[in-house]
């Protein structure tokens, strides 16, 4: 009798049963999440360099309240507390980087609580959210504090805020274009993490090289913006040029960090192309014809809603399946 038990125990150790597909990944979820956090470091640095040390406080508030909300909800629902997996830290960092400079700490905290509570935990936590939590928080802030969230401070004025227009708003409302140089280095008005293209590219390329972010989504978005934005620009050169579309506003930030979120983006290759092109189309439409100067947040949220349908209709045929 005891012999049998021993054999069974051995079998348990030697045989691991699981259903297909038997895919293996180099990294665990936790490692991937901390990779993304690492990739966001250049953006944090550029935010502090251009807008002053107060911004570090804004970002820290966003992270602390995101992690705290997640831990509290996990405790209340009697689930294992898993905030160390880093996903709440990502949401907090992202939210902290897409609010304007010198944004109120109370509002930032509210945005973080809403992002984690309503954007993520209400759906069941990591892996179940339909929309990108950080963008849900940002959209909430946009609806709740429409003036504060569009009050932009010019870079290099840390304490006495000098208001300044973002490049997109300057072009849309005043017809003033901004040169590509400042857009590339980040010496322009805008949200904390979105202004410096070089910092975003640094982190973004790191994500692409390590394979943490899928290259198809940023590629599809870039191609889409060049095609759709370029077509409108050729019709009427007073519309923003494709280069301007790419380097102004939060296009790059959204393409690398927001749209590539595993949970809220499609799982098939074809689906990713459709998703990226869809974001680009909606983005160009909002920027050119919409009432708002910027539309990265809304275009990604809009396409997030399509992801279940995209996944369903781009599912590859099962081997041996007969078309009915």
């Amino acid at each position: 009798m005891s012999d049998v038990t021993v054999t069974e125990a051995q079998n348990e150790r030697e045989l691991m049963l699981s259903t297909s597909p038997h895919l293996q990944s180099r990294w665990t979820t936790k490692q991937i999440m901390w990779f993304v956090n690492l990739a966001l470091a250049p953006c944090v640095i550029s935010a502090v360099l251009y807008f002053g040390f107060y911004q570090l406080l804004v970002i820290a508030t966003a992270v602390i309240f995101a992690v705290g909300t997640e831990a509290l909800i996990q405790k209340l629902t009697k689930k294992p507390i898993a905030v160390m997996d880093g996903s709440a830290v990502i949401t907090g960092l992202l939210l902290g980087l897409i609010v304007p400079p010198n944004f109120s700490l109370v509002s930032t905290a509210l945005g973080s609580i809403f992002a984690i509570g309503v954007g993520k935990m209400i759906f069941g936590g990591l892996g179940y959210n339909i929309f990108n939590p950080a963008l849900v928080g940002r959209a909430f802030l946009q609806a709740a504090f429409p003036v504060a969230i569009t009050t932009w401070t010019a870079p290099n004025y840390a304490v006495d805020s000098v208001s300044s227009a973002t490049p997109l708003a300057a072009l849309k409302f005043d017809g003033v274009s901004t040169a590509v140089g400042p857009l590339f280095f980040g010496n322009v008005g805008g949200s904390l993490g979105e202004t410096s293209s070089i910092a975003i590219l640094l982190g973004g390329i790191f994500l692409l090289v390590t394979g943490v972010a899928n290259w198809r989504i940023p590629a599809a978005m870039t191609i889409g913006v060049i095609v759709f934005g370029g077509a409108l620009w050729l019709i009427d050169p007073s519309y923003p040029s494709p280069i301007f579309h790419i380097f102004a506003g939060s296009f790059l930030f959204g393409a690398f960090y927001m749209a590539t979120d595993y949970v809220s983006s499609p799982i098939t290759g074809v689906g990713m192309w459709i998703y990226g092109l869809g974001i680009a189309l909606v983005l160009v439409l909002i920027r050119v014809f919409g009432g708002l100067p910027e539309g990265v947040m809304y275009s990604i949220l809009f396409m997030n809603a399509f992801v279940p349908l995209i996944n369903r209709y781009t599912r590859p045929r099962i081997f041996g399946e007969v078309k009915s």
Binding site: T77, V118, G119, M121, I122, F123, G124, G125, Y128, I130, F131, V136, A139, F140, Q142, A143, V282, L285, I286, F289, G290, G291, L292, G295, M297, Y298, S299, L301, F302, N304, A305, F306, P308, L309, R312
Partner: protein
């Protein structure tokens, strides 16, 4: 061009469900499966287009010439109710499973405020006959889009680990709110 703008305005920018919050009842009630949500959208679209045509004719051919505009609510509701009866008979004849899947929500299209709203908006915006048709098609397409998106999301949520107090209608209303938040980006895009 004007007509296309009216279509896009009704379908996306001023989406009846997600911007005006009309027609929430079927939007919540029939959106649990895509296989019933999409036909529901089509049925509503059909009723909307015919409503747009018939109510426009009644308003401009009967109510205005005889100076009895105060009868518009009564007459519009009558038109909608009889149209829904017609659709119900048609679906019952063509597809019994679909008829059963839509259940009570099929006759309830009658009380779908999106449809009466459509008829009243057409009067309010003083659309011409052709514009009214495009407005009806756009509104129907927008409703179909919204309910299909919702159905896709809800089928996905069936596998999700939603806390028990939020399962069912609460999470659906929250998703509807987040969808409306996402559609806010289109605000001010077209003013037709």
């Amino acid at each position: 061009m004007e007509l296309i703008l009216i279509f896009i305005s009704a379908a996306i920018v001023n989406n009846f469900v997600l911007a005006y919050f009309l027609g929430i009842c079927p939007f919540i009630g029939v959106s649990n499966k895509l296989s019933s949500a999409f036909p529901m959208g089509l049925a509503t679209t059909f009723v909307m287009v015919i409503t747009a045509i018939v109510t426009w004719l009644i308003y401009h051919m009967i109510l205005v010439p005889y100076d009895v505009v105060y009868l518009q609510y009564v007459s519009f509701i009558l038109v909608v109710a009889s149209l829904v009866q017609f659709v119900e008979m048609f679906i019952k004849k063509v597809s019994q499973p679909l008829y059963r899947a839509l259940g009570i929500f099929l006759p309830l299209i009658t009380t779908n405020c999106a449809i009466l709203g459509l008829a009243l908006f057409i009067v309010l915006k003083e659309y011409s006959f052709v514009e009214a048709i495009f407005y009806g098609v756009g509104a129907g397409a927008g409703f179909t889009l919204a309910i299909s998106l919702m159905a896709g999301i809800r089928e996905e949520l069936e596998l999700a680990n939603v806390p028990r107090p939020f399962q069912g209608a609460p999470i659906t209303l929250i998703v509807a709110g987040l969808l409306a938040l996402a559609f806010m980006g289109f605000a001010g895009m077209i003013s037709v």
